[in-house]
Assembly symmetry: C2
Homo-oligomer: 511 residues x 2
């Protein structure tokens, strides 16, 4: 937007590569979960914001700094596409990184994009629907437990909205016991909100606790399975919903970039330039490690990113036209955090405000900062509707699930029970499990299965229910092939089908 304003049409052509055709207004993303604002009102179409820019809706696959070429992902046609540049701005943000945390990739949800927010909302509504119909109290409690890991601003906003939403729509679910609803926030330090001053953080802690949020301090999420969250302290929380707002890391395309890094981010100078590529490559936003002219670290917030963009636009113009480069000097105006339900906390010009007044300030500032007049009116309307009407509980089911997935189980966990419907076949990627069968009220161990072995084919091949229970003996990672895909593969790749048919026969004879 700044470049479009400063540069003349004939001076430069501007190209923006982004995997979505919209820009996400991150500060309001948590409100999508509770439906406080409409599903697409927190985002703004880039083509409207930047009419002169050429938008390429693809993913960045590779950056070749030496040859000044960016490679983007294929579109409808499987061809490599490359874009050459004279000047490059890298603003790819961060991704959630679950490296070294077993089961997190499979069972924890990140909260970075609009799709994450919509998918979390749909999952929570499905959990409520199932809890209302479920007769097993243990499973019902799992369905009604919602865990958020990470007590920074982002995690606090998510747990606040989630807690408000679940508790306010619960009255429409007559078979959901109100006292079984648990919303748990896990944070690794002695207090939440490290970004804010202590007084405001304590205010937030007290308020959230009063509204029913359980806060677990000095602990962190260590592993996840489809049935529970496992904390570092050893505590296990049975749940079907785990959201993690961290840890963050560079996108793979930036990890491979040959340039100086600082704490896992790209190191930029005070002109926001990448070393060795001064006047040619700039880094801004969450993917950059930057310092202001006075030597302070620049925090990864929207208000800083906006000013970084302005500085870069000026410096690109200087590189084209000649002239002095600007240095980044913005030190921040304050901090804001929403606690949901007409409450917030704010530090502005050193003044601390909390509660309803802070909430009004929060709403006003973010409404003002939202670019585009349309969007301002839409969000103001959503907020007005929110005051008039109770939250919505429509589950917009548009996600298809991939047929080949991975799952993680902790020792002792059940993969499936004897008598369950056979809905998939499993391949052990790592670990051991035991095959158990109930007979005359007694459970006997039939076999132990190890890495590379298969199970679950019997029920699928004979279209019957599971004839045994499978329980993990060690940490167990499995590949899961859904019934429909298994059947397609089996009938089209005979060698694949033969493996399972032979196995099923062998096992049937063993009995």
């Amino acid at each position: 937007m700044h470049l479009e304003k400063i540069l003349q049409l004939e001076e430069a052509s501007i190209c923006l590569v982004n995997q979505e055709n919209y820009w996400v207004y991150q500060p309001l993303l948590a409100e999508v979960v509770s439906g406080s604002i409409g599903l697409t009102d927190t985002v703004s179409p880039i083509r409207r914001l930047c009419p002169r820019t050429r938008l390429v809706m693809r993913e960045v696959e590779q950056i070749d700094l030496k040859n000044r070429v960016v490679t983007v992902s294929p579109g409808f046609r499987p061809r490599i596409t490359q874009i050459t540049y004279d000047y490059l701005v890298i603003a790819l943000g961060t991704i959630t990184n679950f490296y070294g945390m077993p089961g997190m990739l499979e069972h924890a949800r990140p909260f970075k994009t609009l799709a994450d927010a919509v998918s979390l909302r749909n999952h929570v509504i499905r959990a409520l629907e199932e809890a209302d119909f479920e007769s097993d109290p243990e499973l019902r409690r799992k369905l009604l437990t919602f865990v958020v890991a990470g007590g920074g601003l982002s995690g606090v906003e998510v747990i606040a909205e989630l807690n408000d939403f679940v508790r306010s729509v619960a009255r429409h679910y007559p078979h959901v016991p109100r006292n079984e609803i648990r919303c748990v926030l896990i944070h690794s330090r002695p207090r939440i909100l490290p970004e804010m001053v202590e007084g405001l953080a304590l205010f937030a802690e007290k308020l959230l606790t009063k509204r029913g949020v359980e806060i677990r301090l000095n602990d962190r999420l260590k592993a996840a399975t489809s049935e529970k969250a496992i904390l570092k302290s050893g505590t296990e929380i049975p749940t079907k919903t785990i959201v993690s707002t961290g840890p963050l890391a560079l996108a793979p395309v930036l990890q491979n970039l040959d340039c100086p890094k600082d704490q896992g981010r790209l190191l930029g100078n005070v002109h926001l330039e990448l070393q060795d590529y001064e006047g040619q490559v700039w880094v801004i936003g969450d993917c950059a490690s930057l310092k202001t002219v006075s030597g302070n670290s620049v925090p990864p917030t929207a208000q800083h990113a906006i000013r970084e963009a302005k500085t870069v636009a000026a410096n690109i113009t200087a590189a084209i036209r000649g002239g002095n480069r600007a240095a980044f000097a913005f030190e921040g105006l304050g901090k804001l955090g929403s606690l949901g339900h007409h409450s917030a906390i704010a530090e502005i010009f050193g003044i601390h405000v909390s509660g309803f007044l802070a909430w009004l300030i929060w709403r006003m500032i973010y409404l003002m900062k939202m670019p585009g007049f349309n969007r301002k009116v839409l969000i103001a309307t959503d907020w007005l509707m929110g005051l008039l009407f109770p939250p919505d509980l429509v589950q917009l089911k548009v996600t298809g699930t991939s047929g080949v997935a991975e799952q993680y189980f902790e020792p002792g966990e059940i993969v499936f029970n004897q008598g369950d419907l056979g809905d998939s076949v499993y391949v052990i990627q790592e670990g051991e499990c035991e095959v158990l069968r109930e007979k005359d009220g007694k459970q006997e161990q039939l076999a132990i299965l190890r890495t590379g072995e298969y199970f679950g084919e019997m029920a699928l091949l004979s279209d019957a229910s599971r004839n045994a229970t499978i329980r993990a003996r060690t940490a167990l990672r499995v590949l899961l092939i859904a019934k429909a895909d298994f059947n397609k593969l089996r009938s089209n790749v005979p060698a694949f089908g033969a493996v399972f048919a032979a196995l099923a026969q062998e096992r049937a004879e063993d009995r």
Copy 2:
């Protein structure tokens, strides 16, 4: 809603099985495509509409009329769940049936549910984004061609909204030539809108044509591939977007039901009862073939369905309390169809109206009929915003694609080209294709592959681009395994990997 009103709490417990937790207001579904109304504003949460009803958000898998048991799909846990009943109302509507039309299941989109509407909108936006970036004029024209099959009310509303949307947002896509945009409506009879009188249908035809819609009469969609729509007349329309609003059929669970049927629908009597199950099972809505007391067939429209529900509620009450059964006597009030862009057609009490006045009537009636005060206000607000602001072009990408898919190719069509990226492996389910390689500017045929053979493994196993072109020799149906899934299966099921490794080696030696 009627049962909740009539029956006392202690008289009956009411249970509703529905695969979504909302009710879809079908008449406004087409508006979701253009974004005239918010993504979820055309649906209403069932728990709000029917607070006393037990909602079970599952799919109906089986109906056992003899034993009065309904089996529903499993939830989070793979268990069979059964619901017993004293009285049953079957209102499962219809599904789009592509039987006997090659490639339709794989490449044509139905338009029945909210998910269909959202998915169509997202696909159209992606096509525009790609067209703006695509340098090949042939592919660009395909991306800019949108085909709707079926010229009934539903098809006409979809093409009208689609045409309005694409043409109005096109100005944000500077590299999309306006004259390459094609919106095509295909209808099998000599005129569109068989539901309406001729004068109004001709008005609609003229208006749509004026707005740039191509209408092809006396023709029908016969087959589809990922590259084109194939009509009965032999005409082929190169396109990436095919929507089909028909033909309709009963859901599989009803096809298997042992009861009298009429033209593929369940036959009900004037009391809306199923034969042999009078006073116990009722059929209403699009899945039922019904006649009024005066012997007229009941058309499958919302206004009739609403009155059928009322009659059934009265008859269930009569069955419980004793008393006379009501007969269905509603003959219809009129017909309404939106043509988008402040225009519509209407037949009300025998009077024919078209244009802006009909549009005002259309909006007012549907707004009045939308149940729930919230929803009325939301839709009215959406419509107001629509008058003030241009349509939105945010693509809400939340769909995951399944890793094992099917594709259909017509004789002569290219599956992939030499030099393309290798993104999947193919298994021939039916048909033949030829392997072609370009060498010194000449194309030579290397081999012919037949049913049961595999191709495309080379590029995946060696992580290179395609070393040959594959072209269909006959009608060709293939199973397609995406790269990520192929690699997971290969490394976990050695027999599966061995098939492709052996094949790749054999083919490499052949050269």
